[in-house]
Amino acid sequence: MSQAGFFLILIAVLPFMGALLPGLMVRAGRTTSAVATATPTALALVMLIILSPRVLSGEVIQAELEWLPQLGLSASFFLDGLGLLFAGMILGVGLLITLYARFYLSSDDPMGQFYTYLLLFQGAMLGIVLSDNILLLLIFWELTSLSSFLLIGYWKHLPEGRQGARMALTVTGAGGLAMIGGMLILGNIVGSYNLTDILQAGDQIKASEWYLPALILILLGAFTKSAQFPFHFWLPHAMAAPTPVSAYLHSATMVKAGVFLMARMWPALAGTDAWFYIVASTGLVTMVLGAAIALFKDDLKALLAFSTVSHLGFLTMLLGFGTEAAAVAAVFHIINHLTFKAALFMTAGIVDHETHTRDIKRLGGLRHLMPVTFVIGTVAALSMAGIPLFNGFLSKEMMLEEASHTYWLGNPYIIPALATFGALLSVAYSLRFISHVFLGPVRDDYPHKPHDPQFGMWAAPGLLVVLVVIIGVAPFLAEGIVTAAADAVTGAHLHPHLKIWHGVTPALWMSIAAIVGGALLLSLHAPLDRIWNALRRPEAKDIFDALIARLVSATRWTTEITHNGAISRYLAIFTVASVWLGWVAYSGSGLSAPTRELLPVPAVIAVGWLLLIVATVSVVVMHHNRFRALVLIGIIGLSISAGFVYLSAPDLALTQISVETVTIMLLLLALHFMPQITPKESSLGLKIRDGFIALVAGGGVGAVAYAFLMRDVDTISGFHLANSYEGGGGTNVVNVILVDFRGYDTYGEIIVLGIAGLVIYALMNALLDGPAARRLKQVVYDYDRSRDRHPMMMVVVTRVLMPIAILVGVYIFLRGHNQPGGGFVAGLVIAIALLMQYMASGFAWTQERKRIEYHTMIGLGVVIAGLTGVGSWLAGAPFLTSSYTYIHLPPIEEFELATAMLFDLGVFLTVLGAVMLMLYSLSRIARFAGETVNVAPMDYDPGEQADDEEDK
């Protein structure tokens, strides 16, 4: 990758890499934290500046990292004129905001958090403007919604902040979802998700029948993000955020993301009637409406918020015109709006910070008390009004010029008239900002005595208004970047000349009308304000809240129907849905002809089958008697084990039989503390319904099983059979698959089993701390109990059996690699041998003789299995590659040593530990329930009796 490409990726990644720094550095002080934020931003900005000459000369810098090539998703970035403009804005304003926020936030605010969110947001924004892959762009798009949610809701104690954050997330998130759909359609039309490809395929896209749906969906994303009518309402509510956030997100960057997207997609989507009427009309309406509302807002930030809505409409309308000159004007206005609006927001923040109010009605006369702020605010507001010699004038003139010769449905007057009216309103509210805040007499009832803030706070807006004036006086300085960005938007080579004087044009007359009219309108503000307030206006927040409430009640209704807290309902829904899906799959293509013959059924198997069916039906019929049901379950398990033996699955038979034993013991232990009878409480209707569901499900599954049993299948098992001995060193292919071919799966499975054991242990501990313990102590055993709890015969027999059982376990373990057996079965067999001791001599007696904790055993097993896997790295092979050798020791037969055996040892230990821990946990409950603790191995010990007699 070239050095430029490397820089580009670094620019995109730096904010994310630096995001945690401020949070960590904040302990070293607020300034340190701010510096830690500024460092990655500044570094990225320097790199961007290094790259900028090449971009300005028309080059496009690209860099690509493969991510998920199968999905057409790659981390590819590119930097052209438009990207350069936006990246510069994001990073430059980001630096200024970092500085401003350092002084704006009070010492009570968690500043580290703020800066971390800010960098996350900055990274997401940079990602949007630099992505060369629309899927990647979508990811960053959603990231901006999420990080802005965090920033808007930064003051968690303010309810408006939380509500505003939620509203912003809902609106922009919903738009983002729509946009995902649109982008996917676009990618499908073009056959590539690369932005550079899509931008070249404009004609193909516009010719496609999917053009309109894609356009509408993408515009929904852009309009919600850029607060276009009728989605404009979230922006003013997002103003509950701290002012640095408002200045950064809601004037300079995030709300411009929608505008950016429209500009980016301009070559692919613009130029059609649909584009013009949707985009230009929306922009026009938003511009006029936003400006009108702004004029009557008393909250400084709300005024600026609606003015931002209006200016975003201005930009949208220009992009909607679809001409090259309009694109130039839009790009130029993006820069101008950034400079004056960010400065105005910061000014409003300073006023708020110093006077403790943002209510225009309580302000006025601040020019004497805050002269520096007055100068900054006035210059920025005059630029917003579009007064000559400030930069806002230049782009407004270009807009009016474009509007003056644009027809709307063949009518030449609508757009120029409304555009002029919008400009007029803009003049009025800008002048109101100046006159009602700074001019007029000094008051003596400010909530706080104002004065100019320290330099650090006004430095950032000060720098911005210097730019306002420089561009306003010498616009040719901005020509380079505007040309590069406009070229990137239109895909053409433009030569715009930015100048102050265009001669006497229609635009000039419209401009004069706007300024004069605006000033007049302001002089009438007081009576107009009364009329405005008397009007009944639809309140967007109420509509939004009502809509959300409707949605919430609809989802609640669905939830209550389907999730009523009874698992039987979920399971019924799940079962019916699965059966239905199976039916859909079946009715789709039907079945091919059977290719296999039926195997014969010997009589003994038929008997076993009958046993299984009868037992199953009996469980269902007699499940009210729980103990009997358990016995029947045991019969079913044994029949299945026998079936495995017959059907060439000795390993499964062994496992099933030993698991069966342990399961039944476990259920018996649990049943001891639960009601012995299930009451008959299901109504007949419920029984019929459930019976019907069960029969349909059972019939379906049986039919599927029969269908595939009668047909051959391509299997990959040939590989396993062929390589089991050569590669894995074992002849029991099932075991070799477990410990070698699919050792990774097995490793995961023993971890799961170990976790299950620990979960049970933890549950039991939690249980014995709660009210259940009290209840357990009061258990009264009302049924007749055995008088001989630890019978001598059983004790003796289990003692004798123990070494034999362990020997069998070891044997099964050792032969596992070549003959049926292995770690799973061996673990279960030895667990049963140990359990027999518990049963014979009781919990306490056995527990005392236990040498190793079961937790340790689980841990040891997982570690051994893991280390065996890691060991193959030392040999330079992938995780869990096994190797083996044959050893010949003279007195015994030649035998094999395989690393797989070590892995199997891990399996063995984990299984043993988990099973023992589970049963151990249950028996501890028994002790709690007032079981007597025996210290002798058996109730009646003939040995002791003999000793006693000897003593006599």
């Binding site: 269902v620 729980r626 476990l666 396993h720 299950a756």
Partner: protein, 121 residues
Amino acid sequence: MEIIVASSVGVLTAGGVYLILRLRTFPVILGLALLSYAVNVFLFASGRLAINLSPILSKYGDATYTDPLPQALVLTAIVISFGMTAVLVMIALGAFLEAEDDRIDLDLVGEDDINGEDAGK
């Protein structure tokens, strides 16, 4: 033989589904146990049935074997379903001991309890 296996799977599934739709925890556990059997046999059968063809490699050269892969998968499935059953049993037991009721209709149980306790206080 195929009919026997398929019908067993079907009957086990039907029994399991009926039991998991009951209103107490214990039958649900039994139902899940039946469903585990059904699923294990179902998966095992996906390797097709074979008699006397164990997947143990023979020393005597060319022999045919049954499909070992489903067997390996089912083997771990059996052990895991034991773990799952054990956790469920423990949760059911805990729920019963805490609430003195093993009904699974949470809404009804909750309302009864709350009302009863409030009335008591």
